[in-house]
């Protein structure tokens, strides 16, 4: 029974991660945040071999992410959507099966729209970033909810960058 519960929990974790990717791909930010606890903490990090330091490129809690996503339509931005290809590599449940840590490898492509010269490059796909999602989740009933996410980037040449969560 324990093993079956664990398999179900692991599948629930994977389902939440993959569902979050689809919601972010579709820029449904408030729906993405509904998969996250109120205490959710999000950060984008990278190691710089130039300055030989771990860096934080962005961090925010649930409330800050929510207000940022609400405000971003007031900003000028590159509207070329980011699309994620993700594979959940590992899911480790705690002993009680109530929380989990997951490692997901991702590639993010940018589907060009208006970032440079739309007549020429709209419709092209550019590799935007690679890295891993390092997630902590907790089980609530039969579902998994995000407690925290670290977006660990390998890409450090981010060119124009982006306003949006990765």
């Amino acid at each position: 029974m324990r093993k079956a519960n664990n398999i179900a929990a692991i599948e629930a974790v994977k389902d939440t991660i993959y569902r979050s990717c689809l919601l972010m791909d579709d820029e449904r930010w408030s729906d993405w945040l509904k998969l996250c606890d109120d205490g959710f903490y999000y950060k984008v990090t990278a190691y710089s071999p130039e300055i030989r330091k771990d860096m934080i490129y962005f961090d925010a809690d649930h409330g800050q992410l929510s207000s940022m996503c609400d405000l971003l339509p007031k900003h000028n931005t590159d509207h070329s959507p980011l699309k994620r290809h993700a594979v959940v590599y590992t899911v480790d449940l705690d002993d009680g099966g109530t929380s989990a840590e997951a490692v997901t490898s991702f590639v993010i492509y940018q589907n060009m729209l208006d970032g440079v010269n739309s007549h020429i490059d709209a419709g092209e796909n550019h590799l935007f970033a690679i890295g891993r999602y390092l997630d902590k989740l907790r089980m609530v009933d039969d579902a998994a909810r995000f407690v925290s996410r670290e977006v660990r980037l390998e890409t450090r040449r981010l060119d124009k960058g982006t306003h949006w969560p990765l």
């Binding site: 071999p49 030989r52 934080i56 207000s67 405000l71 450090r156 040449r157 981010l158 124009k160």
Partner: protein, 416 residues
């Protein structure tokens, strides 16, 4: 009313409004000349001293296509050299940073080693080993003949490592910058600083367009954040001040960070002696920018790659003495505006990307207006005019006909 070709191409009256021919941004010949006449002749802050904190640490970079290495000797002296082996011109060090304290597959500890043929150099640039020297060179060549090409190097202005390719540059760094950085000298030189952020962008645009963006604030209309946290009487009273050698300072005012939802005052972590939430921008000719917003310093360094391509390195700095908590707060303040996911940086880079489209090599010459006059205040384009006066002096090219070639389409249109 929209204009026909003749009207579009007719030069504005220079006596009424200043303008530049866009070929200063798009002409390949001008670009190559800029590397020779400007970029190889000025001081460049290639990195920060905190990026090579220990003896035998090094950083590598490029100035005007020339590979450069900066290293710290056992006596803590920082020196710079061309990162080029005097034997067969291989790159000596390929990594962006590291330490020579340990040996490498081809060389000994505490030396720079060219892996190709294992020639070795000490931190003073002296050649200390030529592999099988006597067998191959007999007495025709020895280590004393093949030292590295040393470069002039000074540490100044917040701990930045300034390097020049010009042995005969007539200024020290202090003389070159002059008093342009006086407005933030105490904040950046009272306590040692430390780099906490590095990222880079390669943008399909001319390097001067990035410098223009940093030196004119009329473009604050692109920034929702700046409009809601500024755009008051104090903002519009900010002065643009010009300094010798083409440098420009955009004066300060108190930013109302709390007017942007989710943002907070920077007062608690102000740089030493900086009034709360003040913001200074200093543009150093030809492509360096110091940007101090209350609790975080950003320094941009441009590396021009081609007429229509520039690499911009973005560094964020705090105080070396920061506690972990202070540093995290500084990083957050920095990132929310200036990080690769920050509110403003993305908007600025989008803007010059668009300019890069319309002014790429081969596009027709355009009139770039530099003609706003508002008593040298924030939306006055005096900063750009000052920069281009200096640029014209270095280049010996007039802004209105920089190629000494006719503006082809304009001439055709004018003859209609």
């Amino acid at each position: 009313m929209a204009r026909n070709a003749k009207q579009w191409n007719t030069h504005p009256d220079q006596n009424k409004i200043e303008w530049a021919d866009s070929r200063i941004y798009s002409d390949e010949e001008i670009f190559e000349e800029e590397l020779e006449k400007i970029w190889k002749k000025v001081w460049i802050p290639v990195c920060h001293e905190s990026e090579l904190p220990e003896p035998y640490d090094f950083r590598t970079m490029t100035i005007a296509r020339e590979p450069v290495i900066v290293c710290r000797d056992a006596d803590n002296q920082i020196r710079a050299f061309l990162n080029v082996c005097p034997h067969r011109a291989n790159l000596i060090e390929r990594r962006p940073s590291g330490s020579f304290a340990e040996g490498t597959p081809s060389g000994n500890p505490k030396n720079m080693t060219c892996m190709f043929h294992a020639w070795q150099f000490d931190m003073k640039g002296r050649c200390v080993h030529i592999s099988r020297s006597e067998e191959g060179y007999q007495d025709r060549l020895s280590t004393k003949d093949v030292g590295l090409r040393r470069l002039r190097c000074e540490v100044a202005f917040g701990g930045f490592v300034w390097v020049t390719l010009d042995d005969h540059i007539p200024h020290t760094v202090q003389e070159w910058v002059g008093s342009a950085l006086d407005c933030i000298l105490e904040p950046i030189d009272t306590e040692p600083l430390e780099v906490f952020h590095y990222h880079k962008a390669i943008i399909p645009s001319n390097y001067k367009l990035w410098h223009d963006t940093n030196s004119e604030f009329y473009h604050d209309f692109v920034h929702y954040h700046n409009r809601v946290t500024g755009f008051n009487d104090a903002y519009f009273a900010r002065k643009n001040m010009t300094f010798d050698n083409g440098h420009v300072v955009v004066g300060s005012f108190e930013v109302q960070y709390d007017q942007y939802e989710g943002f907070e005052s920077r007062e608690a972590l102000s740089f030493p002696t900086l009034p709360p939430n003040n913001w200074y921008m200093v543009d150093i000719f030809p492509g360096i920018n110091y940007n101090l917003r209350g609790s975080a310093l950003r320094v941009d360094l441009m590396t021009p790659i081609s007429a229509n391509e520039v690499m911009i390195e973005f560094r964020g700095l705090g105080l070396k003495q920061d506690t972990e908590e202070e540093r995290l707060t500084r990083i957050r303040h920095h990132n929310t505006i200036w990080g690769p996911m920050g509110r403003n940086l993305h908007e600025d880079l989008l803007s010059i990307t668009g300019q890069g489209v319309t002014m790429s090599p081969g596009t027709e010459p355009r009139h770039i207006l530099h003609g706003r006059h508002e008593n040298d205040t924030i939306h006055d384009e005096v900063g750009m005019r000052h920069y281009y006066d200096e640029w014209s002096r270095w280049m010996g090219r007039p802004l209105h006909n920089p190629t000494n070639r006719p503006t082809t389409r304009g001439s055709v249109a004018a003859a209609e």
